[in-house]
C-alpha cells in the first residue's frame, strides 16, 4: 500500500540548537512547533492531530492551544518520530485527521524540565541488567559490537571511519555542533568511554527540537512549501534489554521496519539518492546499511571506510553530520527526519544535487525499536 497520498508540508527545528538555557523541554517543543506552523502558514486552530514522545500529547495540546481529534503518544525512544510519521500517514489516509503536527523538544544537555531517567529496580532491566553496572547508552548500546567485529573481522579503525566521514558532512553545515575535521587517529586517541568505544565514536549531548506537519498530498499543493511525499513506512520492536537481542550482529527491529518501508514504497535500493541512519554511536550506520539491505553482511564498515557514504560518494549518508557531529539531544530521530525533508526540498546545507528519494531510518532505545520512512519530492 503506497503511502504517497500524504505529504510533509511544514518542517522546522528549534530556533537555536546546541546549548539552550532559556527554554524548558516543553518550551523546545513549542518553539519547534511554532516554527513549523510558520513554515507552512498554519495556526494552532488548523491542527487537528498531534503526536509527541517525551511529553504527553495532552501537555502539548494544552500548551499550544490545540484541540485534537487524533492523538498519538507512541514513545519508544529516538525513533518515535518515524513511527509518528507512519501512524500519522495512516490516520490521514483513513480520514481520522486532516493536519497532523508531530513535535519533539529535549533539554538533553541543560536538562531544564527534563527529569533524569531512572531504571526501576523491579523492571526486567532493573533486575537483570542494571546490577551489572551499565550507565546509560554508552555502556549498553555498544555491548554487541565486539561480537560483530569478531564475526566479520572488522577493526575499530574501520568503525572510527564512520565518525571521520560524518565530520566531513558536518563541516558543510553551519548549524552543526562540531565542524572541525578529524582524523582516524583523533578518534582512536580520544578518551576511552566503553571499550572499544572512544569519545568521538559516541554522540553529542545537546538541547534542541523539531516539528513536522503532515496533510494529504492533495491538500499539500495549496501550501507555500514544496511538498515532500511519504512513499513508504515501517516500524518494529524487539527487546528493552540489549542483552536479549536475538543476534548481536543484526537488529531484528531494523530487519522488520526497513524492508517493510521498501516494500511499501515499491523502490529498489539503487533508487535511493540520500540516506539517514540514526547514529547514536558509530556502529549504527554499519548495522543499518546491512539490515536495510544496502550491503551484504560484514561489508558496511569497509563500504564507509572506502568513502562511498562521504561527500562525493555514491550513497550520501547522514549529511547533516549525524548524532556524532550535528546534534543529539537524546532522541535524535526528529533531526534525521528534518535533514531528509531539507534534502527533498533542495535546501540542505550539504545538498545532494537532484536527490529524489530519501530513506530515513531510526532506532529507539538500545536496539529496542525501529522506524523507517521513505520520502520523495516527486508528486504522485
Amino acid at each position: 500500500m503506497p503511502h504517497n497520498t500524504v505529504a510533509v508540508v511544514g518542517a522546522a527545528e528549534t530556533t537555536d540548537m546546541g546549548v539552550i538555557t532559556n527554554l524548558s523541554q516543553i518550551g523546545l517543543h513549542a518553539d519547534a512547533a511554532i516554527n513549523a506552523m510558520k513554515d507552512c502558514g498554519l495556526q494552532p486552530k488548523d491542527i487537528d492531530g498531534i503526536a509527541c514522545a517525551n511529553e504527553t500529547p495532552v501537555q502539548l495540546a494544552h500548551y499550544l492551544g490545540i484541540t485534537p481529534s487524533w492523538v498519538d503518544g507512541t514513545a519508544v525512544g529516538g525513533c518515535s518520530f518515524m513511527i509518528h510519521v507512519r501512524h500519522a500517514a495512516a490516520a490521514i489516509e483513513a480520514g481520522l485527521a486532516k493536519t497532523i503536527l508531530i513535535t519533539h523538544g529535549e533539554s538533553g544537555k541543560s536538562r531544564i524540565g527534563n527529569p533524569p531517567r531512572s531504571v526501576h529496580p523491579q523492571s526486567l532491566n532493573g533486575q537483570f541488567e542494571q546490577p551489572f553496572g551499565p550507565m546509560g547508552p554508552p555502556s549498553m548500546f555498544t555491548i554487541p559490537v565486539l561480537r560483530y567485529m569478531k564475526t566479520y573481522g572488522i577493526t575499530v579503525e574501520q568503525i572510527a571511519q564512520v565518525a571521520v566521514v560524518q565530520r566531513e558532512w558536518a563541516g558543510m553545515n553551519p548549524r552543526a555542533t562540531f565542524r572541525n575535521p578529524i582524523t582516524t587517529d583523533d578518534v582512536l586517541n580520544s578518551r576511552m568511554i566503553a571499550y572499544p568505544f572512544r569519545l568521538l565514536m559516541c554522540c553529542l549531548v545537546t538541547d534542541g527540537g523539531g516539528a513536522l506537519i503532515l496533510t494529504s498530498a492533495e491538500r499539500a499543493k495549496d501550501f507555500p512549501t514544496k511538498p515532500v511525499y511519504i512513499l513508504g513506512t515501517g516500524e518494529s520492536a524487539e527487546t528493552p534489554m540489549v542483552s536479549q537481542m536475538e543476534n548481536f550482529t543484526t537488529s531484528r527491529a531494523f530487519r522488520v521496519a526497513g524492508p517493510t518501508a521498501f516494500r511499501e514504497a515499491g523502490i529498489a535500493h539503487k533508487d535511493v539518492d540520500h540516506l539517514m541512519i540514526y547514529d547514536a554511536f558509530a556502529h549504527l550506520p554499519i548495522y543499518g546499511l546491512e539490515d536495510l539491505g544496502f550491503l551484504p553482511r560484514g561489508e558496511a564498515a569497509g563500504f564507509i571506510a572506502a568513502r562511498n557514504t562521504a561527500p562525493g560518494g555514491t550513497l550520501p549518508l547522514n549529511t547533516n553530520g549525524g548524532g556524532l557531529s550535528y546534534m543529539h539531544s537524546g532522541m535524535y530521530g526528529m533531526y534525521a527526519l528534518q535533514e531528509s525533508i531539507r534534502q527533498m526540498r533542495g535546501i540542505a546545507p550539504a545538498q545532494i544535487p537532484g536527490a529524489k528519494i530519501s530513506v530515513c531510518h531510526g532506532v529507539g532505545g538500545m536496539f529496542a525499536a525501529s522506524g523507517t520512512i521513505i520520502f520523495s519530492n516527486q508528486a504522485p
Partner: protein, 141 residues
C-alpha cells in the same frame, strides 16, 4: 571480588522471585516450556515462543561462554572502573548480562567465546548476584 557499596540491586517480582531465591541457594534457574521445549530467560510464567503456561523451572549447568562485552571507563556507584559489562551465552542457550570475576578487566584477558562458569556473590540478605569466571581460574582457587 570485593564489591564496593552502592551497586544497584534488583527487587524481585512475583514472576522472578524463584530466580532470586535460586541464586541465594547457589542455583542458576532457567525455565523450560513443557510443550515446545524452549529454555528461556529472563523469567516469566509462560513460554515466549508458544505462550504455553506449562513451564518447568530447571537448574542451569552454570557453564557459559563469553558472547560480548564492553569495558566501562566511567564511574558508576558500586564499581571501580575500568570494569567489564558482559553478556554470556549459557550452555542451555539463553544469554544474560553479568560481570566477569577472577579475571583482569582487559581486552587481552577477556576473549570472546572463552569458557566460563557461574559463581554467586551475596549482595544483601535478600539478593545474591550471578557472576561468571573463567573456567581456567578454578585451579588457581
Amino acid at each position: 571480588m570485593a564489591t564496593p557499596p552502592g551497586r544497584a540491586l534488583p527487587q524481585p517480582t512475583p514472576e522472578t522471585q524463584h530466580f532470586w531465591d535460586g541464586t541465594k541457594a547457589g542455583q542458576l534457574l532457567l525455565q523450560t516450556c513443557d510443550d515446545c521445549r524452549k529454555t528461556y530467560f529472563p523469567p516469566r510464567p509462560f513460554c515466549p515462543v508458544c505462550a504455553s503456561r506449562n513451564v518447568t523451572i530447571t537448574p542451569a549447568s552454570g557453564k557459559a561462554t563469553l558472547y560480548s562485552y564492553v569495558i566501562h571507563h566511567r564511574p558508576v556507584p558500586g564499581f571501580t572502573p575500568p570494569y567489564a559489562i558482559a553478556v554470556v551465552e549459557l550452555a542451555e542457550g539463553p544469554r544474560m548480562m553479568t560481570n566477569i570475576v577472577d579475571c583482569p578487566q582487559t581486552p587481552e584477558a577477556l576473549v570472546l567465546d572463552m569458557p566460563l562458569e557461574v559463581v554467586f556473590e551475596a549482595q544483601s540478605d535478600a539478593i545474591t548476584l550471578p557472576f561468571f569466571r573463567p573456567i581456567s581460574s578454578v585451579a588457581k582457587g
